[in-house]
Symmetry: C2
Subunit: 367 residues, 2 copies
């Protein structure tokens, strides 16, 4: 890591802070005579979840997502503790002050000074030709992109997919989002077209790994199918509306200012264009992108849509109760909460929706 130019000492320091905070949580629980099993992410499995009355994730949002990914019981609460408050945001975790005073959180739970928060999750159905409903758990495999793509291909060759018709309910639920996009090995296929060489000798172009375009068709709420070309498609929950989806869609103060200036130029603004107004409009717009984790609806975003003489794009984002996607991709993945990946190539159709049966049980402490 040092060779790579990374700050090894800094890394180690973050690791120590994390370890200290984990110990605090474990001790607080044991002081309350609560039986505790401390498991590392690789040891965290269905058996552990069955055994536990509640799961506490110690880390950041990534750790919380991993913890949630194994919980299918609507009544098995999961609680997140942010073990690096200075460096991690931790939307999914308890307020940071409880990191250092976890006993206080426990007391509130005992005294019932909290309410259950049922975070809605997304379920996926996969159908079509050449699909493979077998997930690749990206948490559990140390794969290069190359290997990752091979992993998919091997499974594909092993399983008897020929007559899979579907729809198949996939064995995962998304707490944050489902992302559909070309996986990185796709550049091989793309280049074989772009550079017109015989396919065997075709070269990769890094451009398509950093900015690979995805081709697919989308139907929102059973509406008409639309061809799309973009940097991928993000479908999120209320929980995920604060995460990647927010960064994809939020507008900058600067952009709003320019837009209002243009509107003013067209003589359609009567107010003086002051910073206060721009800030209010920016905040209102960006807040409109957020919604409650408990609302059983999804928000989809087409990321960096490519609109030109060849491709057009109409509705680029919005709330929806059902999104269907037909893949026109070379070597695409459907990735759930950044943790589980399904191949999603030409011929495959995904139906993305929310079923309240899938909600995740979390707690909101009263302040």
């Amino acid at each position: 890591l040092a060779l790579k130019g990374s700050n090894y000492a800094g890394l180690l320091e973050r690791h120590r802070i994390h370890t200290k905070n984990v110990e605090h949580v474990v001790e607080s629980l044991q002081n309350e005579k609560i039986e505790v099993r401390l498991v590392k992410r690789r040891e965290y499995n269905e058996e552990t979840v069955r055994w536990a009355d509640a799961v506490i994730s110690a880390g950041g949002d990534g750790t919380m997502l991993l913890a949630a990914s194994k919980i299918f019981d609507k009544f098995k609460p999961v609680i997140g503790v942010n073990t690096d408050p200075e460096r991690s945001e931790g939307h999914l975790c308890l307020p940071v002050r409880y990191t250092h005073s976890f006993p206080e959180a426990l007391q509130k739970l005992y005294r019932g000074e909290f309410r259950w928060q049922w975070r809605q999750r997304i379920r996926l159905y996969l159908e079509g030709t050449g699909i493979n409903p077998a997930p690749v758990d990206l948490h559990e495999q140390q794969l290069s992109q190359e290997q990752h793509s091979r992993a998919h291909i091997n499974e594909r060759l092993q399983d008897q997919r020929s007559d899979i018709s579907g729809p198949h309910l996939l064995p995962v639920r998304a707490l944050n989002e489902v992302f559909i996009g070309e996986s990185l090995s796709s550049r091989y296929a793309v280049c074989s077209v772009l550079f017109r060489e015989n396919f065997k000798s075709c070269k990769p172009s890094f451009k398509f790994s950093l900015h690979r375009a995805s081709y697919y068709e989308i139907s929102v709420d059973d509406g008409p199918w639309e061809k799309q070309k973009s940097s991928g498609l993000n479908v999120c929950t209320g929980t995920g509306s604060k995460a990647w989806s927010y960064n994809i869609n939020k507008v900058a103060h600067q952009a709003v200012e320019e837009i209002l200036k243009i509107a003013k130029k067209h003589g359609s603004l009567n107010m003086p264009l002051n910073t206060e107004l721009v800030q209010k409009v920016t905040n209102d717009y960006n807040e409109s992108l957020l919604y409650s984790p408990e609302e059983p609806k999804m928000f989809f975003s087409i990321r960096e849509p490519i609109v030109n003489r060849v491709f057009s794009s109409s509705r680029q984002r919005g709330f929806s109760s059902k999104v269907c996607v037909r893949s026109r991709c070379w070597d695409a993945c459907m990735v759930v909460d950044g943790g589980t990946s399904f191949e999603f190539n030409d011929g495959a159709i995904a139906s993305i929706m929310i079923d309240t049966e899938d909600a995740l049980c979390t707690v909101l402490l009263e302040e």
Copy 2:
């Protein structure tokens, strides 16, 4: 490819169309008694460029970028022919009608019915500790991301970088853009922090390959340094303002409509909010993102900036004559026109600017 679900017949058809169009160009030139060397991208090298009075790229924009990447002579014109007009946009190529009537284009050149278009290009200086000014040519190497990262590391181990201080002028010029972001193997390092395991056993998280956050500091036009966390940084030329940069920054009709609605709600709109106004504002805003390839200025965009309790972000995009970036990345790359990559890790500082000496000579046919 068929196994992957790709349309092999379709691919082959595009290949045939391309081949036919290339032959048309070559024959048109030979009919004019012009000596022609037809080279595939792997055979295209400095010697060929030296030999030629002019370079004609036959393909799409990707092929044109590759052709330009080897031309450092300000007076060696390069002309792009779009060999798949139905499927490729070809911003950098001649108007599509010349694909099938190339002799007409030649006649215009003979009759002087054109003007030279000097497309400005970006140059890069690299300095700091642990930098490696040796490029990795991604066109010429068939690498998986894994191998790609190793390729960098090997060079790093081979060369004597210890006392490299810089600034080093890098041996490339960007016609479209320079992109700085975490390369894909970065997820190993990122996860070692996120999941707090001992570094050896740390697992990848696909999230960071699809949506890897990049940490860096940026200074625009010698202004103050600002910490940033985002999905990368794009610095483009006027030529590149029509490419990736445009897709990153353009606003949707839908977003403008919502923004103006909010402004109206705040009582600052007197005009009725009709589609025509929204369309006008949207077009004006998006057109303001485009500028002439000949203008010696750059446009920078922070991609999906992450703003939260831990990170803040002020100016997210704008024109600039000089952008300096200090890497705080684990395993980042600086990628030029998607074709050439330089490692860009913690300790490295890049200075990004335009020198009119680097302009690329192209032609604009009179219509």
